[in-house]
Every structure is written in structure tokens, then in C-alpha cells.
């Protein structure tokens, strides 16, 4: 019932790992920039470390522009990285096209957001899936083998009976069915890792759940490691085992999904969870003004010149002088093992100072107050 294709392996084995992953995109230089020594770059992703484990879903949550999709493309080796390391089963890998790229892609597959754009409109489902199977050597032997492999793929993504879909063109399928074809195409390579970049955000609400359940089911049956990228933190709670929150190219909080969504520690995560639509909070007229200021204000910073220190400090209601100069490292939060936040509020020194009440250096709400607010 568990593994079908993949070799027996420890359940929690790290399959794909990013260590200190960094990506800077160059910006066209203007005349006055020629005088300065440092080249202008967009700091799209800075120092991101993620471990994708077999049979687990890791969610990467953030606003648009926070670098989540760049992380997916870096992990898929579609962009060369600026710094850091990507390790597949512990071995550092850097490929650029060619045979080695194909070998890599065989193990790490990417699913994109828009199933309307990711399938070629002039080709049938059969063509898309056959290509994937052929290229990755899973087409079986002879025409019968291919037919069987195709039927298997479609059955696996619950498009049954397969004959009904094999010769359909993408425009004949609904959004949910198209996304299933895209998933089937990724499975055609028999990968170990699935990178799903907002796989359901283009789909209708009533369809989303089906696709997410399908991914969950595939994870269990094929023991895949899945990276689930989303801006919807509520879906991360339901679908992912672990959640990592990104803001302006950096990771700000991580831990198991239930903890991160129910007891968010970092002020940005709190802003995110407070902003999510909440039917229980029926006001009929939006939020009151006090709550709005408490939640923080403003917009994400420019990534060409990101703020020094913590990148969230210009918007943070709890910002301290230290936040503007020193970058907070991931600091463990006490409530659950594995829960961490890159925020000075959780620095043992800050917490201790807050407790004894002697701290003159922390005039704003400290960690204890912060945790109170987060419940």
C-alpha cells in the first residue's frame, strides 16, 4: 500500500535540500550607477534553507514578490543560483541544460500555477504524456507498454476512464482536469520530488480541494517529497506537514504547520494570519481602525535596496532599535520543538530582559507580550 516504485528508504530521509540558497537578479545599470562599485541587483532570495523529506509536504508561504517562486525555479535548476547549495541526497548539484539536467529533472519535477498556459493547446493529452514518458524512459516496451503506462498515469490522477481523456485537447478539459494532466505529466518522469508552484490558485474553489487531495494521496502512495508553494496560509495548514514563511526574499518563520498557523511567532506571520479572510469574524464592515494599526501597515520593501537588519522592521509594530541594524538569525521559539522565528523578540536576551523588567533597551512590546498577542 505504501511504496510502489521508489526504493525502500527511511521515511524521513531528506531528498532535496537547499542550504543558504541565494539568488540575485542583475538590474540594468543607469549612468549614475556606473560611478558606484557595487552592481545593482534584486535580492530575490537570500539565505534560504529548506529540507524536503520523503513522504512529507513542506509549504512555502508568502506574498507575491517574496521570492517563493524563485526558490522553486532554483530548486528545479531553471535558474543558476548566486550562492548557497542545492543537494540531492546529500550530493551538491549544479546543472545547466544537457544530459545532466535531464537526469536531474527525472528526479525533481515542477508543476506550474497556470494549467491553461502550461499545456500546449495544439497537442493532445496523449502527446503531452507520451513525451514525458519517452524522455524519461518510462514508456515501457512497444505500443502496448506505452498504452498501459498512459492509462496508469491517468488513473493515478483520477482521470478515469483514461480513454476518455487521452485524445482530448487541453481546451476540451476544465481547469481542474488540466491541472491533473500537468500533474500526470510530472509523474511521467517518476520523480522523487514534486515542486508545486501555486498548483491550485488558478482553480475554482470547489475544484481546489480535489487537486490538493490528489497531491496528498500521491505523496502517501508514491512517497514523494512535495514543496507546496502558496500565498494561502490556510491551505498550508490543511495540506502541509511543515510550513515556512518567506518575506522579501528571506525566511522569517518555520515549524510544523499547525503551530505556525495557530501560534504564529513572527510579527509578519501574525500580520498574514490576521489578514486572511475569517468568516468567524463577522463585522459586516471590515476591521476597526485600531486593529489595522496593530496589524502593521505599508508595503513590502524594494528588493534592490532591502532594509538593513530585519527586512520587516519598517512595517513591524514591535520594531526595536536593534532590528534596524542587525539581521535576526533563526531563533527557536519555546512552544514546540522545530518552531523558529527570525525575530529579535525571541532572542533569549530580549526575553530575559523583558521578564526582569530591567530592560531600558526594549521600550516596545517584547517577546512575552508578543506571544500573548499571538495566543
Amino acid at each position: 500500500m505504501t511504496t510502489t516504485e521508489s526504493a525502500p528508504a527511511p521515511a524521513d530521509e531528506v531528498v532535496l535540500e537547499a542550504v543558504g540558497l541565494t539568488k540575485h537578479f542583475p538590474v540594468r545599470r543607469r549612468l549614475r550607477d556606473l560611478l558606484s562599485r557595487t552592481p545593482t541587483v534584486v535580492h530575490a532570495v537570500d539565505d534560504v534553507s529548506i529540507a524536503l523529506r520523503r513522504g512529507r509536504v513542506t509549504a512555502l508561504v508568502g506574498e507575491s514578490g517574496s521570492g517563493k517562486s524563485t526558490v522553486a525555479r532554483l530548486l528545479a535548476q531553471l535558474y543558476p543560483r548566486t550562492g548557497g547549495d542545492i543537494r540531492l541526497h546529500g550530493a551538491s548539484i549544479r546543472v545547466r541544460g544537457g544530459r545532466r539536467f535531464r537526469a536531474y529533472v527525472r528526479r525533481v519535477q515542477l508543476i506550474l500555477q497556470d494549467p491553461f498556459a502550461s499545456l500546449n493547446p495544439v497537442h493532445t493529452v496523449r502527446y503531452h504524456l507520451t513525451r514525458s514518458l519517452r524522455i524519461h524512459g518510462n514508456a515501457g516496451t512497444g505500443p502496448d507498454g506505452l498504452e498501459k503506462a498512459l492509462a496508469d498515469l491517468l488513473t493515478r490522477v483520477s482521470l478515469t476512464p483514461p480513454e476518455r481523456y487521452l485524445d482530448a485537447f487541453p481546451h476540451e478539459l476544465s481547469g481542474g482536469q488540466r491541472q491533473r494532466i500537468a500533474i500526470a505529466r510530472a509523474l511521467g518522469a517518476d520523480p522523487e520530488v514534486l515542486l508545486a508552484d501555486e498548483p491550485v490558485s488558478m482553480l475554482d474553489v470547489s475544484i481546489r480541494l480535489g487537486v490538493l487531495n490528489l497531491l496528498q494521496d500521491l505523496k502517501d502512495r508514491l512517497n514523494l517529497a512535495i514543496l507546496y508553494i502558496t500565498h494561502d496560509i490556510a491551505s498550508a495548514r490543511y495540506f502541509a506537514d511543515d510550513t515556512i514563511v518567506m518575506y522579501a526574499g528571506r525566511m522569517v518563520e518555520g515549524g510544523d504547520s499547525e503551530t505556525v498557523t495557530q501560534r504564529p511567532a513572527h510579527p509578519y506571520t501574525r500580520l498574514l494570519t490576521d489578514s486572511a479572510p475569517d468568516p468567524e469574524r463577522i463585522t459586516g464592515a471590515g476591521g476597526d481602525a485600531d486593529a489595522a494599526t496593530e496589524r502593521g501597515h505599508g508595503e513590502p520593501p524594494s528588493l534592490i535596496r532591502p532594509p538593513a537588519g530585519c527586512r520587516f522592521h519598517p512595517r513591524c509594530p514591535h520594531a526595536m532599535p536593534r532590528c534596524t541594524t542587525e539581521l535576526p538569525p533563526p531563533i527557536p521559539v519555546d512552544d514546540r520543538p522545530g518552531h523558529w522565528a527570525a525575530c529579535w523578540l525571541f532572542d533569549p536576551a530580549t526575553v530575559a530582559a523583558e521578564k526582569t523588567g530591567t530592560a531600558a533597551a526594549t521600550p516596545t512590546a517584547g517577546a512575552t507580550a508578543g506571544q500573548e498577542a499571538a495566543r
Binding site: D204, V205, P279, E280, G286
Partner: protein, 335 residues
Amino acid sequence: MNGKVLEIRGLCVDYGIGADAVRAVRDVDLTLHRGEVLGLAGESGSGKSTLAYGLTRLLPPPGVVSGGQVIYHPAEGPPVDVLTLSPARLREFRWAETSIVFQGAMNSLNPVHKVSTQLLDVIRAHEPTSTAASRLARAKDLLRLVGIAADRLDSYPHQLSGGMRQRVMIAMALALEPQLVIMDEPTTALDVVMQRQILGQLAELRERLGFAVLFITHDLSLLVEFSDRIAIMYGGRIVEEAPAARLYAEPLHPYTEGLLHSFPALRGPRRELTGIPGSPPDLRAMPAGCVFHPRCPKAFEPCDERVPVLGPPGVDDPTRAVACWLHPAVAPLPR
């Protein structure tokens, strides 16, 4: 909630003419009261945008309004049927009485014109007698109203962030103080944080200016929080209409229930997510009887034969209406 501002009666919208016509909106009855936020929810293809474009006569061909009435009640004067307005009257009606914030409004600004040009153009077109100085002052006020500094008036759209562009669109929609603002997925392209800021501001503006909002979205959780009443559309018909809190607490139509159990909740206990099996209906081949019956877990004998009418499910409960054989209407909705 004093008085009606817009009444839609039996509105039908077709795409195409004759035998090939596809009916995207069927017999929709909907009433909007002054100062109310009415949410309209449904999947894509359920006809919610078509309804909005139909009632403002903005439907691009081959869309045709094939029946019904859209009665608009101006602040002063007798009610008018929008569908029979002359072109000149329609021109006055649009924007001054009813304005629209379009889907993907961030891209509805003209990229080669400054914000000021576009904002002043609206005011000049509708109030040709105003002076340039008064128009400029008005434009500045409008930007301030939506929380943008007045000096951004001379920016081009690309110099503004997505959220700011969206706010400019809202400012433009409010420029002539309309009675009714139709918002077609106004925040879908925005992040949750920005979405909440804009919706909070919108709620505040509505308090202050007293316009009614027809809020169209597929995000039911958002509607429950922000609207007074919610109408659910499926397959071109309204299948349920109720005050937001009632709809959330006690959905009557199985489709509404399915929708409510489709989105994961961030707070509270982890609810069982059931979703809705199957896929939305094909408008070219609508199922007989209740359109939802092929996907409905509770379908029974009359569902595949007779179309349920929208009406209040009980005598004691005139605030809500549902079109489902499980809750047969006691009487057709009084209009």
C-alpha cells in the same frame, strides 16, 4: 437599509443568437438596498460577471440581454429601466449613478497616461461645466480618500504598486459619488494583507458615503466577512440568498454547503473538508431539473425533473431564499 437602489427582475443573458445561443444567466431576481454590500459568489462560469455586465449594458458581443428588467431607483426622481435607456441617458447613468471596478483592475489603467489625466478625464466628461482648478482639487481629495498622497497624482501607473493602482481604480469609481458600485473580483490579484487594507478602507468609505456595493468574487470566506447579504450563483441561476451570517451558520442549499466546506479555515478546529464532487456544468448542455443535481449528494426524486424556484424556505423567515427541493419555497419571492 432604507429603500431599494437596484432591482433586477427575471434577467436573462445569452451568448449568441438563435439556436446556438448559450444562456449564461437565467431568470435572475436580485434586489440591492441603499448602502448595502451584497456579495455574489459562485464558480467561474456561473454567470456572476455576465450578470454584472448585463445589468450595466456593458456586455461585449455576442452577449445579449434576452429578457428581464433592471430597475434603478435614483436618489431623486422616478425609477428607470436601465435596459431601455437611450444612449445619451445611459452615458449619464454610467459612472455617475453606477460605476464598476473591473476584474484585474490593476491593468485597467492606461499605462501611457498619468493618474491625474485619467482621473480628471472622468470628472470633465461628466461635469463639463466644472473649472480646471475645482477638478484638480476634487482629484486630490479622491486620492486622499483612498489613502494615497495627493502628490502621486502625477505618477504613471507603472510607478505605483499593485495595491495603489487598485486604490486609484476605486477612487475613480467613486469620483462621481455613485449610488451603486459594482466590484468584479476587485482584490483577486492582490495579496491578503493588501486585500484586507483595501476592503477595510472600502467598508469605511461606504459608511461615510453610503453607496451600495455589489461585490462579486469566488472567495466565499471573504464575502461572509465583508458583506451584509450573499447571493450564491450556480449555472446561471441564483440558488441561495441570505444574510451573510445566516448563510455561513446555516447553509440550506447543498451547493452552498459544499462551497463552505471547500475552503480550509485558518482558525478554529480543523473542519472536515469535503469539497464538491464533479465539475461545473457545461452551459451548452445543462442538466434537466435542478442544475446542481448531478453533483448533489442529497439529490432525490424531483431534482432531475423539475427546476426548483427561488423562494423563502419558511413562512417565518422572509430574509432568505433558496432554490432547492429540500427546502421548497412556501411562496415565490415577493417583489
